[in-house]
Symmetry: D2
Subunit: 360 residues, 4 copies
């Protein structure tokens, strides 16, 4: 289904980096949900570039909801959000020489030269602004149903943040942090690491960790439309994400079953697990514990060092020296995109499970 | 879409561990493809339990293709494969006490007690036999189009196999190995590790690494239906898989952009990359290099040590001592399931890209 | 999605007329629904050939539910029904000469000669036995939720049945009629008309009229997934159906708005309409009145008169004289297929609207 | 999937009658297709109200393509079209009293009062302007591939147009007619009939007939995704359409098989049929003959006569006297919507069949 994701609640993306608008259509929301425009604005601000550790291209991210909302509430019909592109400098790209690590070459293979290559076109991280605006609505809806989402930078290079201690308060803390790290002493070290790479014209990647609390047990399907499968399907759309793991994930290779199994226990009349190696999902279905996952974020491919590439027009090797405006790290900006994508997927799973009046 | 995956080439699964049949319907195959029943049998044999390192439940895995094949070739209409369940001992399970790490509890939450809990029912790894039979057909088709898939055990505990050296010959080597390890000296160490855990009533997990070669560039979509998203969506259905990473994956956190970017180079008139940190996919679309991914496999949750659980009928804590037949490791058996699922997804992506007469 | 229909409740068909089995996988049913095998048998009997007005090929239609049912109730996981083909005489077909009005030629165009042409293969009306078995389950479920479906032969040639008077009792009457006509005096005339055609080696078509009562208001979508769109999409799969109209349908051309508008009125605290020209659907969404539609059924294309055709192997004109076993009319047998397809679509619409525990 | 239709080529609709914009996202087009803005403008003009036989609300229908087009050609990424609403008079509606024949009441049932009821909101025929703009692109693409579509008013009341004689020239003739009738003498009679109804505050319906020529044989699926099923699914979204029939359609009830069967014949080395009772489709798949279908269009429900309705707030009977701007007939305006929807569905079917570089 290409640029549409979701079955009952679905998001459709459109736009290019240097086009007139980017945007999203969000369909299948329950009617009567309050739209909090200030929160959308806040979420977009978390995605916006930040000083030395980000690109110099800063967009105002004015957004217009042009349908699907009436008197401040969802109507239940498709909600279209438009975000104008304003700060465009199109001279910055050399389309014949694909940037290593970017989609320039694969776009050429798929679109035969007709793609709008300016600024990465439809592949640009710019498109994620539309995902964030749509996702902000999804996050609001989940919150109204007692479901909270939060993501922090778990690691950049060898600097590790602590993991979640108290999910609810940690998630609240993260909600307002532009550089989302739970241990603030590590935040400065991470920023320094990014600036260090930037000073060499280089970039860094890292790992994001997300927790979702308040989900009911019994959501998801045993085959194919598992919670893990649905989330990862959408998460891998986020540019730069190259890995997704749930619970202990790849660390499972180091454990024995006696360590990895999450024992059940009654707690206040509710079934809980004493550990959460499975990240809140068994057999593809939520078990009521926090859904925890991590995403690997590759270093931003746009760097200011000379790189080997090819000239597609001439069919010969060449070197590439990028100019323009680029991020030495996008992990802190990608955080809100991960939250947004996860929230959109969960709204879909909940509406599939409980019907189109839910989540309400 | 629950138990169906795929848009142009789609697989639908059905069956329970202790029912009459499990099976799969494979729809959307091009007409005229040769069906190699011996190869299906071979693939099923790779999934079958192996001596001390596997469960004592061994199934003959007789399969019947009851539609979609005529004169030994696909007709283009739905191909249904049935696999009878024969070796069943249903006294082995205590449904009220959910097994830690299993789907027993989440099945209860979703199906309200109506699920067929015997042997894990529809959640059982047994269902993967149908995936393997369907996947064998997909693997054959890809092979006829010059596309090869192979998976090895990359790691169990701290024992690591070497990675792929020469993709084509390594894949050929793996095709016949029941215990798929490229460095045969490591195979014995891994087997010993599994037996060691088994002797303590325990189990182990590990990491599988897969390579796919021969894919054309330009397959996949920029958003949502990325190659990574489509593959991970399906791969997370495989019981025990808790992480999927492409290329360098989570290792990206340790790299700078100058290291992670895969430089382009002309080679025999073709664009290639000098490294493959992106695992053959840029911007969600194949770039013509090998697609490489790794799956984290958790330790088998069925262990023979006393575990903490709850009695769902009584709503109180209890302990669980499993009897029955269980695998101390399933990673070597999961390998062929991973190959199968990947092949099914690729057939779908290729048919979406090139039409329903492809792959042919 | 080819041979699968439905989003939350989905049916997948497989099989060929002369293969080992035909069957269906029915996925997404709520757990805990009672399966009434006697009713499935009854519905299959309504589809079975009847004496002089039908083909001489009579199948026992033994069916086996091989998954998705446990202790007589749905588990919520995919329910697979197998129906063996037993009464097969494959010498009856001449594949190189396509039968006019049949899918022989289009099958050749799509499947390039690899289709199983015996008995019409996957295009055969035989496949509808699987739809009827799956549909019987859907009809039972709807009935448990107070939703009833019934179809009668509205017209054959110039012989017209009366329309529905009292929906509930008319539907009950039809449930047991093998030749479903509300005015029994017309039934004999219609049968005579069919026999008359049969005696000349010819066949007849007609019109089926269906009513569905008990549906809640507010089901369906304004665009694309309208109730009319979803029903017609699936109904046009039924071999021989060439038209679908809702309410007054094509008769709307003869009315003015003042006649066609269905006035609203309060009745026992409920909003009803005084007429039902819109067939229970406004703007694609149910309004709580009976959903009424009619299907045009073309005359069975297999006739015993010499017909003009072509020899596809030689690329030249030829004549065709069919032998074999064929129906001079299928409208009375198609009735239960229409009911089945409609019930499957409604289960899907209801589960999309109210969640996967519904219809229960 | 609600407001999205299509699998490989998909259209997503958004907007309300009195909102800021209506629009459509058209995804999955092949790259490099020339966008003819003048043709889009022309098609929108065919949908625009015409003097005495239409509403007094006339919209400029300025459209903006904000993504998916670069240098006048499709990029292959989602194409979003925006159409501003300018001519709005919102005082014209009384939301508590549902208009008979409209979706006011069903919208209330589905959206619980949160719908934007002004001007019919998301149910308004206004939304079809976005379908027409998107459809114009699809029609252009088909034309570049030798596939032509045309629709005429087959009947209004008892005034019948002639049917297609010479498909190609008839379709060319219709392309520029604002009141699309093949026999111009009938056009005046039909217009008079509409004006006559209008003078009494009433409205009329009718029948549209569509022909599509140049389609390759072998497109469509045997079950569910038949050509008839796909087309009708989308066509029933068009407000006021209550019936769809292919070929001879409901007239099949009057024929015997010997009359209804379309005999095959070789013509210039190509298989053709001597008649076209099946409307170009056998077994759900195109046979290379013109695809011909008819749509029943109900009389416009907005009339200026007193009507019986209910007051939903008070739960009591009342009468309704509409004011505002309404069409006494929409059949001539619906024509281009039918062409548009059909073209969109065909682009999808062709891309599914031949891959995403087609139609080119």
């Amino acid at each position: 289904m290409k640029n549409t994701f979701g079955q009952s609640v679905a998001v459709t993306l459109f736009g290019e980096s240097h086009g007139e608008y980017i945007g999203a259509v969000l369909d299948g929301l329950a009617p009567g949900l309050v739209i909090d425009e200030a929160f959308i604005r806040h979420q977009l601000s978390l995605r916006r570039p930040q000083g030395k550790i980000s690109t110099a291209r800063v967009e105002a991210d004015e957004f217009h909801i042009v349908s699907g909302v009436f008197n401040g509430k969802t109507t239940g019909t498709p909600l279209c959000i438009l975000i104008p592109n304003t700060n465009i400098r199109s001279g910055d790209y050399t389309p014949n020489i694909p940037r290593p690590g970017h989609a320039d070459y694969t776009a050429e293979c798929k679109y035969h030269g007709y793609q709008d290559a300016r600024g990465g076109g439809h592949f640009s991280g710019r498109i994620t602004a539309a995902l964030v605006a749509a996702g902000a609505i999804a996050i609001s809806i989940l919150r109204q149903n007692g479901i909270l989402i939060g993501t922090h930078i778990s690691r950049i290079s060898d600097i590790c943040d602590r993991t979640f201690h108290s999910y609810e308060s940690d998630i609240e803390t993260l909600a307002d942090l532009a550089f989302p790290v739970l241990d603030s002493s590590k935040a400065d070290m991470m920023r320094a690491c990014i600036e260090d790479a930037a000073s060499e014209g280089d970039s860094v990647g890292g790992i994001l960790e997300t927790a979702i609390i308040g989900l009911p047990a019994g959501v998801g399907e045993p085959w194919f439309d598992t919670v893990e499968g649905m989330l990862s399907h959408a998460l891998f759309s986020i540019p730069a994400i190259k890995g997704v793991e749930f619970g202990t994930g790849f660390g499972m290779a180091d454990l024995r079953g006696s360590q990895a199994n999450d024992a059940f226990r009654m707690e206040n009349g509710r079934v809980v697990t004493t550990t959460n190696h499975n990240g809140g999902v068994n057999g593809g279905i939520t078990n009521g514990m926090p859904v925890v996952f991590r995403c690997a974020v590759k270093p931003t491919p746009s760097i200011f060092q000379e790189q080997e590439s090819v000239d597609l027009a001439k069919g010969e090797n060449t070197t590439l020296n990028l100019s323009g405006r680029h991020d030495p790290a996008i992990i802190h900006r990608a955080r809100v995109v991960v939250d947004s994508v996860a929230a959109l997927v969960l709204c879909d799973l909940l509406a599939l499970r409980f019907g189109t009046d839910f989540p309400k």
